[in-house]
Symmetry: C2
Subunit: 336 residues, 2 copies
């Protein structure tokens, strides 16, 4: 059925819906719980302290350099669970398909999601498929909602930063936003810019397993590193000073940002974390982060300070200072 | 801001997004967990046996007689939890808004959802807001994902029906589908047909509290009572015989179905349950159901039988028999 197109009948809840789910969804995501295709899933979690997170993904285009909406939708939700101190366990998958979508494209999206789920041991246990008329959707919109078990003794809330703490970024910034933007606008840069979309469970878990005392975790997605740092500064009632020259930005991304009038600090990432920790742990944290693919460019980029509480200040390359604000509106629509 | 329209900037994840969430979402749905506006919610559930369910709602139009997409999206997910034997506890809310949507309409949708949540004691603990360009969405799409705690000793799986069991429908059928259809097509029938959308927790909970031994529960949404009965028959490996003359169908709904060439048995309901129980419990179950608004027209409509396993047969008004099948495609698109 891979040459076929999605029709409204695929969303009717009858035989056509079941056939689509069986042939495209269960083929890649099947497990004993999901295979029941019941209206809800019975799951077991021994821990009583849980994390729940949801995101709807509307990225345009659905395929971009380095990933697609399927990979993005499961990475984003896994990462939100991890950033809350949770071991990711279960996920739901809600598909809103647009009439006329190629079934082969849907299959590629689902296969891509399945690859990430297998590598992280997270199971999709329940799902839903709807179809809207041509011109009323975006090809595919995906909602994923995740459930995780909170690790005992772990509290990485954005409000925990204290003056003196180190601020680490786990790698180069702005890659995802620029990769999607270039794919959407048909821009060609001197070399390809690839999204960093990745699950961060494999990068963060060793920090906990090794007992590194983290203060805060945040993934700098919409609004970029700027929004993430502002969240930490405001919630913690502390200032943050960032040194621009230490920020890891790929040359191509910097060039593209210059061309497009964007600040890499405000561009979305989908495979990066801001890690705040006590300065006594910085070296060990960096060493552990660098052992994973996603963290190999991890760098200390700033410090939590007592002055200017709630505000993020950047020391620029030329030695000046500027305030880093939360981006107010939509620089790059439909980036995730 | 109620005369304002949704813009792409409301989906950027920055200040405009926060203002919209604060002024429209938190105003109605706020609670200590949701108010954190973190990327995930920390929740506690003592029980380890949980139910998880997800649905995306794309109903067109978003306002229809008897309800709107907000009420529908929380009722649907509460009902799916209840149908799995779960006490509904927590919910996520993912909004995909279309540029140009009236903020006042969004506010009405959220207020409507809030009314149901308050009456059932379910909390929205995490959410997400995205905006897509004009012409790429349907006004509002909503995903709700629910978490419930499974009741000890309750197993109401669709595969549990046994020959001899009674099949009860908790009220009139087809009301939701016809109400949405008439609103969408601008049809006017001799009297208004109103959706039955309602949370079923208040109707089902007393059955459990009173210890009525139920075999199966199913809400006959997409695909209607026909699909729900077929699911039960197939999963249980038993036959079901339904008596057409006992099926509660409003006169206006029957008339509209005749006019539109639809079978009321295949039309979606959003506030009804199929209840299968041992015949010794039928009278008590009916008496309890009838005490709630949603169940006041509850009726025994059929019996589980040994013959024709996996198949549903209807004894028609004129004394003939016909096989009831799962609707194959899309009779009524975007009904939920």
């Amino acid at each position: 059925m891979t040459n076929n197109l999605i029709t409204l009948a695929h969303g009717g809840g009858g035989e056509r819906t079941h056939a689509l789910i069986r042939d495209v969804v269960l083929r890649y995501l099947g497990n004993p719980t999901l295979n029941c295709l019941d209206d809800g899933a019975c799951i077991e979690i021994a821990e009583s302290r849980l994390v729940m997170t949801t995101d709807s993904y509307v990225v345009d285009p659905i395929f971009f350099p380095g990933g697609d909406i399927g990979k993005l939708s499961v990475c984003g939700t896994i990462n939100d669970l991890v950033m809350q101190g949770g071991d990711p366990r279960f996920m739901s998958l809600g598909l809103i398909l647009e009439e006329g979508l190629r079934v082969a494209d849907l299959e590629q999206v689902i296969a891509s999601a399945a690859g990430v789920l297998q590598s992280t041991g997270v199971a999709v246990v329940t799902g839903d498929t709807k179809v809207v008329e041509r011109g009323k959707g975006g090809g595919v919109f995906i909602n994923t909602t995740g459930i995780g078990a909170r690790r005992e003794g772990i509290d990485v809330h954005v409000g925990n930063a204290r003056p003196g703490d180190s601020v680490i970024v786990s790698g180069t910034i702005g890659d995802h936003g620029i990769a999607v933007m270039s794919a959407r606008e048909g821009l060609r840069f001197e070399s390809d810019i690839v999204s960093d979309v990745a699950p961060l469970w494999g990068m963060i878990k060793p920090l906990w397993d090794e007992g590194i005392p983290l203060r805060c975790l945040r993934d700098p997605t919409r609004g970029g590193v700027a929004a993430a740092l502002c969240d930490i500064a405001r919630a913690s009632g502390a200032g943050i000073r960032v040194r621009e020259k230490t920020l890891p930005v790929r040359r191509q991304v910097r060039g593209a940002c210059d061309l497009l009038g964007l600040d890499p600090l405000e561009v979305a990432n989908e495979g990066k974390a801001i890690v705040v920790c006590d300065p006594s742990s910085t070296e060990r944290a960096l060493a552990i982060l660098k052992q994973s693919d996603s963290g190999r460019d991890a760098t200390e980029v700033g410090t939590v300070v007592e002055s200017h509480p709630g505000t993020v200040v950047m020391e620029t390359r030329i030695g000046a200072e500027r305030i880093v604000d939360v981006p107010s509106g939509e620089q790059l629509p439909r980036i995730c």
